[in-house]
Symmetry: C2
Subunit: 132 residues, 2 copies
DNA sequence: AGATTTGTCTTGACAATGTCTAAATCCATA
DNA sequence: TATGGATTTAGACATTGTCAAGACAAATCT
């Protein structure tokens, strides 16, 4: 679906700036920071401002097209994968990989009965195996 | 063990500032930010500077008496629990609770074979049940 | 068309977090 | 007590994120 259609679908006026942000951030698996988004979108749309990038990202989060994740020091990252899933962080490269929900089986014991869990994820760190 | 002994044990000169930081940060389960540490330590040691708090915390991390955790937006938190464990974040209060490693059973499927996992933790969010 | 309104964008100010440097201070030892 | 290395402090700086004011653009009305 086109960025324009996506934006109109949730009642956001499609502007060149917003279209550029959507085209990048809804089609990446790289878990970019706002600054990463700014950097990439400026190639398409050199005059876009930091505030517009933040405004658009926050709009997309509000409309549930995007989620924020607390996975990197110093900045939140944006994730177009809004299904339940886990994350693997490559400690060499810093790259963040999505891990499908089904790849891990989690069983909580009874000692957690005092916690009403509304969501959870596994955060793994290590090294992505090179080669095939 | 006294803060002085702990510091001397890992070759750090015990100073009043460092002792105050150690006394707070190695004896809390609250997962404080550097700023939280500064705020609390200033009660004991009113002239301590931000730089000294950061320096001491980073020293303690280097000496493995403390770990950093990426669990809150905008700041890292410090955790004196250096054993493997999980975390539960109360979305109402923002409080972070330690969950013992054994409280959760995790089984990774074969789809993770390309990832060399060096550590992992479950991050849960929800609400701590009130009452007993 | 010309004027008005509305929404969007940009700029720059601001606060918070974290690192770094230079200067002051402290302190263990001679 | 004098001295030199370690420690602390204050402030500068970079980065991240929010906000408000004004510039700008597009649609609406006369
Ligand atoms: Mn970047
Ligand atoms: Mn605080
Ligand atoms: Zn993801
Ligand atoms: Zn913990």
């Amino acid at each position: 679906m086109s960025a324009q259609a996506i934006l109109r679908n949730c009642g956001i006026q499609p502007t060149p700036q917003r279209i550029a942000v959507v085209n990048f951030v809804l089609n990446t698996t790289s878990h970019p920071s706002a600054d990463d988004v700014l950097e990439c979108v400026r190639k398409e749309c050199p005059t876009i401002s930091r505030a517009t990038v933040y405004n658009t990202l926050n709009l997309l989060v509000e409309k549930r097209l995007l989620r924020t994740q607390v996975l990197r020091e110093g900045t939140i990252v944006f994730d177009p994968n809004i299904e339940l899933h886990h994350h693997f962080i490559d400690e060499e490269s810093g790259k963040i990989y999505d891990i499908s929900w089904d790849a891990v089986q989690i069983t909580c014991g009874t000692s957690l009965r005092d916690f009403e869990i509304r969501e959870m994820q596994v955060v793994m760190k290590g090294r992505r195996r090179k080669g095939k």
